[in-house]
């Protein structure tokens, strides 16, 4: 069962990293730098207040952006429900001495913050995020390490998936639990050495090409979409202040 779970998870992550979300919509076409700043402003507006109407307003404003970007409410709910529910459980005992307002507003804040974060995640490819972080003057070494980590995560999952498939294809008889665990331990060891050696080869190839990791970089633009997005965020924030 454990092996099957690892295989399914590995398959999911391998696909996740191979095929990033490519839907086209409003937020997808906004410059990543402006999008990151604008959505961070909405996130801040959500986490600095406990007033339920203000939190609900930011949540609605975020869901409108999601709709415009072809990100379904179900998709967001699927990704945020667990931690929202978990946060609700954590603050639930305070109902007995503080009433229901605090647990409700706390849970709503977490739900809204997670929704805004999902908007960034679901509409921004990783290379654009790197580009945005670099343009915010984050040190080059840190951005390089981030790119390398992301690339190696992909490589690691694809290698693990191959090892699991190879192991399955070699199995001709039902093994005892003891044998399964022993084989599992050996497989993990082999996996580590294989991934490390492959990682070293990949890094040598990067060095041979003459530089570190190059990430696709689009020129900074403030077009009609960006202007619309900025106006929308400013409008939401002004309304939020006046509420």
């Amino acid at each position: 069962m454990i092996e099957e779970t690892i295989k399914t998870a590995t398959e999911y992550f391998q696909n996740f990293f191979s095929y990033e979300y490519r839907k086209r919509g409003f937020l997808q076409s906004v410059d990543p730098r402006i999008k990151l700043l604008g959505l961070s402003a909405l996130l801040l507006a959500d986490v600095v207040t406990f007033e339920i109407p203000k939190i609900v307003f930011i949540a609605l404003a975020s869901l409108i952006l999601a709709k415009l970007s072809d990100v379904g409410f179900k998709e967001i709910l699927k990704r945020v429900w667990l931690f929202t529910f978990f946060s609700f459980l954590i603050v639930l005992p305070t109902t007995f001495f503080e009433g229901v307002y605090y647990p409700t507003s706390f849970t709503l804040r977490v739900f809204t913050a997670l929704t805004v974060l999902q908007l960034i995640v679901l509409t921004t490819p990783f290379n654009e995020l790197l580009q945005a972080l670099r343009s915010f003057k984050l040190p080059e070494t840190l951005v390089f390490s981030l790119g390398l980590t992301y690339g190696y995560i992909h490589m690691m999952f694809s290698e693990l998936f191959r090892i699991l498939i190879a192991r399955e294809s070699r199995r001709v008889k039902r093994s005892s639990y003891r044998e399964l665990w022993s084989e599992g331990g050996k497989m993990l060891g082999t996996f580590f050495v294989r991934v490390l050696e492959k990682g070293e080869n990949v890094y040598r190839a990067i060095l041979l090409r003459g530089d570190k990791i190059r990430y696709y970089s689009k020129p900074f633009k403030v077009g009609r979409t960006e202007t619309l997005f900025i106006i929308y965020v400013i409008f939401v924030l002004i309304w939020w202040i006046k509420m």
């Binding site: 406990f50 977490v110 913050a113 990783f126 840190l142 390490s145 995560i153 693990l160």
Partner: protein, 296 residues
């Protein structure tokens, strides 16, 4: 242990952003001067990313999972380890929405600074005795301290209506128990790497520098100052506060040799100092004895 958005107030979140930025900045400065095995750094970070997916919730706190900060520190050294952990946490935050943007500073501080540096130095202290035990204690103590910091942050945050009296014990105790698994995994991996690819750990097997011993000595010498400061702000044990609040008192069945950290017949302050020194010596000698007997 990933704190999401909405848990930390802006003061705590900003404070930990600043503290983390200082350590990350210094680590970046240091790794530019050191020869970093980037392939190993990338593999370690991605392996830790995968291992962190095993996650389970803790009531009254956040959640528990393999953190791997100590392992990163041991394999890569504290500075590259700190950067690798920061990368894992940034990818988790920006790609999987695991851990909040406003709480990113605190999350990197707990898992990328405290866990990495504490784990690394504990490993360095014990590695010559036994690799597995050194890795075990590094992983165990590293994650427990990181969890205590997470408890402090959410407990001190005005947005979170549980005080540190609740959050620190819950986070600390749960992770001290579950951290045994973290310690076991860290010890096993370090031991395995030492057997199959000792070249990875080579170069880190240097004698503990004078700086580490000086830092430890300074901490021990300064500890009475913290006791004095604690008295100035009327600090008392959270459990004692709870007992006072509930109107219960203790009925010890054995007073101990140094009851309540005092020496009978001696001034209480001097008695606390003496019992503290005795405690440090006992723990130190025990640790040395255990590691020596295992290394044989």
């Amino acid at each position: 242990m990933h704190i999401p958005d909405g848990y930390l107030d802006m003061k705590i979140a900003s404070l930990f952003y600043v503290l983390t930025a200082v350590v990350l900045g210094y680590s970046l400065y240091r790794i530019k001067r050191e020869r970093v095995n980037w392939a190993l750094a990338g593999i370690t970070a991605s392996a830790i990313f995968a291992a962190q997916m095993l996650n389970w919730p803790i009531p009254g706190g956040t959640s528990a999972h393999f953190v791997g900060g100590a392992l990163a520190g041991i394999l890569l050294g504290p500075y590259a380890g700190c950067i690798a952990m920061a990368c894992v946490l940034i990818v988790q935050c920006l790609v999987f929405a695991d851990g909040g943007i406003t709480a990113l500073g605190a999350n990197v501080w707990n898992m990328g600074v405290v866990d990495v540096f504490v784990g690394y130095y504990i490993y360095r202290l014990l590695e010559r005795r036994n690799k597995f035990l050194a890795g075990f204690f590094a992983g165990w103590i590293g994650i427990t301290l990181a969890a205590i910091f997470a408890g402090l942050e959410i407990g001190l945050s005005t947005y979170f209506h549980y005080s540190v009296n609740v959050t620190v014990p819950i986070m600390g105790m749960w992770h001290a128990v579950l951290g045994i698994i973290e310690g076991f995994i860290t010890g096993t991996v370090v031991n395995y790497i030492h057997t199959t690819r000792p070249d990875i750990l080579e170069g880190r097997e240097v004698k503990i520098g004078r700086t580490v011993w000086i830092a430890l000595a300074v901490l021990i010498i300064l500890s009475p100052l913290f006791a004095y400061l604690a008295e100035l702000v009327n600090y008392s044990e959270p459990l004692e506060n709870v007992a006072k609040y509930l109107g219960v008192s203790e009925h010890p069945i054995y007073e101990g040799i140094l009851p309540d950290y005092t020496v009978p017949g001696l001034n209480p302050y001097v008695g606390t100092l003496v019992s503290g020194a005795v405690g440090v010596a006992i723990v130190f000698i025990l640790a040395l004895a255990i590691s020596r007997s295992v290394s044989r």
